[in-house]
Symmetry: C2
Subunit: 419 residues, 2 copies
C-alpha cells in the first residue's frame, strides 16, 4: 500500500507540471477523464457493489443511497467533468495592473494554489467533481474519501488517472489516500509544505477536527443553522412560501432553514398560517409534517413541541423548525447574531430600512431579502460548479467555485529598477 507521505510527495512533485499547461490541454485532459470514467463503468460498478455489500445493515438507507452508483450516476459524473471543461479558466486572470511613476509594471495575476487536499465522506461522485475542479484550476488533488466508499472511489480515481495519462498529463495530479483510518486525515491536516489548501467536506465533527488540528491552510465548510425572520412589515403570504421552500424543499442540506423568527406584531396572524401550511396540510397530503418547536410566546399562539434552549443551536437537517417570537428587527438581529453559523440568513419585509439594517449587520456568507435561503449554491449563484460552501471569512466565503481554488501572485517587470 502506498503511504500517505509518498502520495503527498508525488502530488507536490506533480503539481508544478500544470503551471505550464495551456487551457486547451487541461480541457482535453478533462475530456479524457470523462471518457475513461464511462469506458470503465463496469469495473466501477463492480467495485461499488462490493462497497454496498459490506455497508448493508451497517449504515442507514439514506447513506446507502448516497453510496450507490448506477450507470446513470456515472454518466452524470462524466457530464459533470465535461461541464467543468466548458467553464472559463480561472488561472492567469489579471486581477490588477499598476504602472508605477518610475515605470515599474506590477501585475496581480491569478495562479493555482498548488496541492489541494479534500477530506470527504461517502458520496463517490465527490471524487470526480473535486478532481475535475482541481485540474481545471491548475491544482494537484489529493482525495481522502470515506471508508465505506473506498473501493468505489479507488476505481473512479484509477479511471481519472488513466484519462490524465492518455492526455499526456502526470497521473499523480489526482490521487486517492489509501489509508482510511483517522491517521491519514491527521497527516493531511499537518502536511505543511505539501498541502496548500485543505477542504473538509462533511459533518460538524470533521470540520471541528480540522479547525482544531490543521496547521495547513484550511477552509471551514458547510454547517448551516439558517434563520428566516418574518418582519412586522412582511407580506405574510410571501413569507409563508419562502419558509415552506426553505424548510421543506430539501431539509437535509446546509442551506435549509432551521429557525423561524417572527415579529410579535404579526405572530398571531402568521403562526396559525405556518402551522396549517407546514404541518396540517402536509399531513393531509400524506407528506411528512414539519414539527414546530416553539418558544414560550409562540406556544401561546399555536400548539406544538416546547423548544428547549439547544433547539436554537441545532442543525436539524430534518422536518423540524424552531420558532421564536421577537418584538423588533433589532431583537431578531441580536438573536440571529448570537446563534448564526454564518451561512445564510433571510429577512422577509417590505420595509426598506429594516432590510438595510438586517443586511448591514448580519454576519453571514449570504444575507437574503425576500427570498429563500436555498439559493446559497454554486450553481444558483452562477459559478457553474461548487467545491463546498465556506462559512469562514478568510479567502472565500459562501459557494466556492473555480476562482476560489486559485490564489494570486504579483509579477513585476522592471528595467534594472532599484529602490
Amino acid at each position: 500500500m502506498i503511504t500517505t507521505a509518498e502520495i503527498l510527495t508525488r502530488a507536490k512533485a506533480a503539481a508544478p507540471t500544470l503551471l505550464t499547461v495551456s487551457t486547451e490541454q487541461k480541457n482535453q485532459a478533462l475530456e479524457a477523464m470523462a471518457f475513461a470514467l464511462l469506458s470503465q463503468t463496469d469495473h466501477i460498478l463492480a467495485e461499488n457493489e462490493k462497497d454496498m455489500e459490506r455497508a448493508r445493515g451497517h449504515i442507514s438507507d439514506v447513506m446507502l443511497d448516497r453510496l450507490l452508483l448506477t450507470k446513470a450516476r456515472i454518466q452524470g459524473m462524466a457530464d459533470g467533468i465535461l461541464a467543468v471543461a466548458k467553464l472559463p479558466d480561472p488561472v492567469g486572470r489579471i486581477l490588477k495592473e499598476t504602472v508605477r511613476p518610475d515605470g515599474l509594471v506590477i501585475q496581480k495575476r491569478a495562479v493555482p494554489m498548488g496541492v489541494i487536499a479534500i477530506i470527504y465522506e461517502s458520496r463517490p461522485n465527490v471524487t470526480s467533481d473535486a478532481a475535475a475542479l482541481c485540474i481545471k484550476s491548475g491544482n494537484g488533488c489529493v482525495l481522502r474519501g470515506g471508508k465505506e466508499a473506498f473501493l468505489s472511489a479507488n476505481a473512479i480515481t484509477q479511471a481519472l488517472q488513466d484519462g490524465l495519462s492518455t492526455a499526456g498529463l502526470n497521473p499523480d495530479l489526482v490521487q486517492l489516500i489509501q489509508d482510511t483510518t483517522r491517521q491519514s486525515s491527521m497527516e493531511l491536516m499537518t502536511a505543511t509544505g505539501y498541502v496548500d489548501l485543505l477542504i473538509p467536506r462533511g459533518g460538524a465533527g470533521l470540520i471541528r477536527a480540522c479547525v482544531e488540528n490543521a496547521t495547513v491552510n484550511c477552509i471551514e465548510t458547510g454547517t448551516g443553522i439558517c434563520h428566516v425572520y418574518v418582519d412586522k412589515a412582511a407580506d405574510l403570504d410571501m413569507a409563508l412560501n419562502i419558509i415552506n421552500n426553505a424548510k421543506t424543499s430539501r431539509p437535509s442540506v446546509c442551506n435549509a432553514e432551521e429557525v423561524c423568527v417572527v415579529h410579535s406584531a404579526v405572530a398571531e396572524r402568521f403562526l396559525p398560517m405556518l402551522k396549517t401550511r407546514l404541518a396540517d396540510e402536509r399531513a393531509a397530503a400524506g407528506l411528512t409534517p414539519v414539527e414546530l418547536k416553539l418558544d414560550e410566546r409562540a406556544a401561546q399562539i399555536i400548539p406544538g413541541t416546547p423548544a428547549g434552549p439547544q433547539d436554537f443551536d441545532t442543525e436539524f437537517l430534518d422536518y423540524i423548525l424552531a420558532v421564536k417570537v421577537v418584538d423588533s428587527v433589532e431583537e431578531a438581529i441580536s438573536h440571529i447574531s448570537a446563534h448564526t453559523t454564518h451561512h445564510s440568513e433571510a429577512i422577509v419585509t417590505a420595509d426598506r430600512a429594516a432590510a438595510d439594517l438586517f443586511v448591514q449587520t448580519i454576519d453571514a456568507a449570504a444575507v437574503y431579502v425576500n427570498s429563500s435561503t436555498r439559493f446559497t449554491d454554486g450553481g444558483e449563484f452562477g459559478l457553474g460548479c461548487e467545491m463546498g460552501i465556506s462559512t469562514q471569512k478568510l479567502h472565500a466565503r459562501g459557494p466556492m467555485g473555480l476562482e476560489e481554488l486559485t490564489t494570486y501572485k504579483y509579477i513585476i517587470h522592471g528595467n534594472g529598477h532599484v529602490r
Copy 2:
C-alpha cells in the same frame, strides 16, 4: 488588570457598531485619534522613557532605537493616521453583481472581518498604524504588543481611545492586551468566535507558534529568504546594481536578498564584479563589506567564506550573501523552489523565454524580472499603507493593504423567490 477574555468580549461587542458608521465618520475618528496622539505627546514620551530605562542594558542598541519615541516620531505616527484617513474606504465595494434569469439580484460586497488581533514586537508605532488600518477597514482591533514597549503602547492606545470617544465611536474598538506573558498570545490564537483574523508580525518563532497553535484564521507574514538569479542572458551591470540594492540598501528587512544564484556561463565574469562592488569597494569606502558565502563552484572563482548547507536556508538580515552557481534556468528554479519562503524572488535576464518560465513556475508572493526584490512593500505597490506581508496563499498574498483587511458577503434581493 482587565483580562484578555474581557478585552475580547468587549471587542466583539464593539466591532458591529462600526458596520453602520459612514466613511466620513470613520475619517473624523481617525483625525481625532491623530489629534489626541499629538496632544498627549508629553505623557507618551514620559511612559516611553520608563520603557527605555527598563530596557537599557537588556536589549541591543538596534532594538533600543526601535523602542525609542521622540516628538518627531509621534508626529510621524499622527501623520500616518491622517494618511490612512485619506485612502479610499475598502468597505462596501461591490465586487460583483449578477442578475439571475429569474430576476434574483446577487451582490458580492466587501465587508469588515469583524475583530482583527495583531501580535507584534517592540516598535510602538505599530500600535497606531494597526489601529488606524483596522478602524478605516471597519474592524475592531485587539493589540498584543511586546513586553519591552508595554507602557509606550498603553499610553498610545489610551490616546487613540480618547480620539475614538471624542468622535462618538466606542473606545473598545481599539484595545491593548494588558497581559504580556505568552499566555495572552495563546489566548488570542485560540479565541474562536472572538477573533476573526489574527496577524502575527514578528520573527520566525512567533509565526511558527501561530501556525502551530492557532485555531482562529491567521495570516503568516514576513520571513523572506529572497533570491536573485543572474541568468546567462543577463545584463551584468544591471544585475550588479539590482543585487547591490537588494542586499545592501536595508539588510534587516524581509524583502532584502539573501541568496544570489548565478548561471555558470557568466559566473567567471560576474562573480569578480560582485566581490569588487559588495565587498572591496564598500570596505574601501568605510562601509560594512558584504560577506560572501560561496558554494564550491563559486569558491573556485572568487575568494570568500565556504557556504555550509544551512546558509541557503537562512534569513541573514545582515551584510551576508550566499552565492550558488547553476548550469541552467531550470536548475536555478529548482534550487529556489526547494529553498523559497514564498516571499520575493527575482531573475535578471534579457531572455524573454527564461523570464516567462521563471515567472510561471516560481511559487512566491512577488516574482521580479530585472528589478530589485526591495519593492515588495505596500507603499511601493501603491496600496498607500501596509499591515504586513503575507507569505501564505490563502486570502492575501504579498503586501496587505486595506482591501486585504476586508472579507465579503453575498447580499441577495428577491421578490418572494423560492428555489
